[in-house]
Every structure is written in structure tokens, then in C-alpha cells.
Assembly symmetry: C2
């Protein structure tokens, strides 16, 4: 076999405690009114692969024992923290105190294409993913530092929210691997 | 409103005929025994956003009128072509005649991390996504030019297949936008 698959040992999986110690606190994602627990779970799974410390949420709180979340998270809800904020303003103030740039992933008239954005090194980044139908809520759009859109060429003109997270996360985090 | 959302007109959606004329024939994806029609549909949706002309498949043929495929494709099965090959060897020979480099997305002992790969400009690329549980089948692993893996830091050590497609597709296609 020219390309033998890695064994389980070679995959170097880590446990939840090691994860917590090594996790990246400088890149985070805010789930703004994400409706589908499948999407939330899927974002957990990818966040675990990216080594992200915390997922924030507002608008809709998805219980971590939700059956659909667990079906797509595949256990990643045990490594990545989840913090729900009833008040957007409170989350905003916390993230700003912590030094985050807050970037909405949204198709707005003045959004910057993802492939054109340049962030200074060591910028702490929080990205917002909006509701599957409505996008990012007005309250967040009044607060964000910038909007970024993933350019697209197709008939549908919308990426699924969990796939958007994968694309934007990889774009910013690829240098951390 | 500091970041007003784009209107439907401003999204510049195109129809299926225009899509077909503009679509990119030089980057494609091979679905090797992908089991979940939700995943297949989700890959269609992202492929439409990326402007990809054709999705290839082997092992499991998902009918385009499959209810679960349509639920996640959201109509993208009307813009992106789908070609199923009963024989891997026949697909391989066609893609090689057409000048494609064939890259398996798989965690193998000698795979190259996605963020380290460099392809010469204008390389035609076909990526293979393997079965959700088994990964890429042995027959393909004997034929591919190279294996690439998306690096990961977590407890789970596996990206969902449709999210893998989003990450790898964006990585190679981000310069085309």
C-alpha cells in the first residue's frame, strides 16, 4: 500500500483535560440565534479539530445533551466549552474587555471578502455566525468591528452555517497548525 | 445601520444555464462511497458556491431526487453536474486523460498537511473524499498521486466529510474569487 492509513495511536488523540490545557483562547465563535442543533453540534466537532477553547452563543441556547447536537458533535461538546449569554451587550463587553476583534460573517453592502482580509498578527478574533435564515441580528450588526463574507459564484449564494465556520476558521487558523 | 445586508439583487444570483457556462472544470471532487445523502447534498451546496462544474462519485450512487440530498443541497443539484462511475479504474483513467492530479483527503502515514502543500499554478485538481467511517477505499489509495490531511488538534481527530470538502475546496479555490 503506497499510502497506509494512520493507526489510532498515530492519530495522537488527546483527552479532555489535555485539550483544555492546550486549547486556543484567542480565536472564538459566537453562535447568534443558530436554530439547528445539528448545526451547533457540527460546529462543536470542527471547533474541537481546530483546538478552540470556547464557543459563545446568544438568542437560542442549545442544551449539550440535545440528541441532535450529540449526533453531529460526536463527543466534541466534552472538550470545547460553551457559554450562553442572555444579553448580547454583556457578551460584547466581555469580549471587548478581553481584547477581541469581533467580525460578523455576513453578506453586507460593505463586507470584505474573506480572501482579501488581512489581520495584524496576534489579533484575537471572535467571528459571529448568524441564524440559518435571517443571518446576523441587527443588534450584533450595530456592534461588530467589521463584516466579512465568503465569496461565492453559484446559484444559491449561501454556504451552510457549519461549513461557513469550517472555511473561515481554517482561513484564520491554518497558520496555527 | 453600519453594515446593511445585501438585497437579493445585490447577491447577483445566476441561473443554471449561466452557471454551466461559467463553471470551473479544473477543480473537482470525487465522492468515494459517501453513505449519507445529507453529506452528499451538503457537498452539492458548497460546490455550487465554489462554482464547480462536476461532482464525481463511485461506490454509492445517490439519486438526485433523494429527499435527504435535496434537504441539504437546497437546489444546488440543478447547477452542479453529477457523474457516477461503477468502476473506479474507468473514472481514474478519464481524469488522468483530462490531466488531473488526484489527491486523497486522508490521514495516512505519509500524507502532507493541507497548509504545507504547494501545487504548481494551473494544476487541475481532483480531491477524493472517503466514506464517513472507513475513509478512502484501498483501490483509490493505490491510485492517488498524493494524500493530504487537514491537520487537527482535538479529541475527536476527524472532520465531517462535508466540512472537509469546504476546508480543502476553500484552500485551493480561494485565489479564484
Amino acid at each position: 500500500m503506497q499510502f497506509p492509513k494512520k493507526t489510532m495511536d498515530e492519530l495522537l488523540r488527546i483527552d479532555a483535560e489535555t485539550y483544555s490545557q492546550q486549547a486556543n483562547p484567542n480565536f472564538t465563535v459566537i453562535l447568534d440565534h443558530i436554530r439547528s442543533a445539528y448545526n451547533v453540534g457540527s460546529i462543536f466537532r470542527t471547533a474541537d479539530c481546530f483546538g478552540i477553547k470556547t464557543i459563545y452563543a446568544n438568542g437560542i441556547e442549545t442544551p449539550l445533551n440535545h440528541k441532535e447536537l450529540q449526533k453531529t458533535a460526536l463527543g466534541a461538546e466534552k472538550s470545547v466549552n460553551y457559554q450562553f449569554f442572555p444579553e448580547i451587550k454583556v457578551m460584547y463587553e466581555k469580549l471587548k474587555r478581553d481584547g477581541f476583534a469581533i467580525l460578523g460573517i455576513e453578506q453586507t453592502k460593505n463586507s470584505i471578502p474573506l480572501n482579501k482580509i488581512e489581520m495584524p498578527n496576534n489579533t484575537k478574533i471572535a467571528i459571529i455566525l448568524g441564524n440559518e435564515v435571517m443571518g446576523i441580528c441587527d443588534e450584533w450588526l450595530e456592534l461588530v468591528d467589521q463584516c466579512i463574507e465568503i465569496p461565492q459564484k453559484g446559484m444559491k449564494h449561501s454556504y451552510n452555517v457549519s461549513n461557513s465556520f469550517s472555511i473561515v476558521g481554517w482561513h484564520f487558523l491554518r497558520f496555527t497548525f
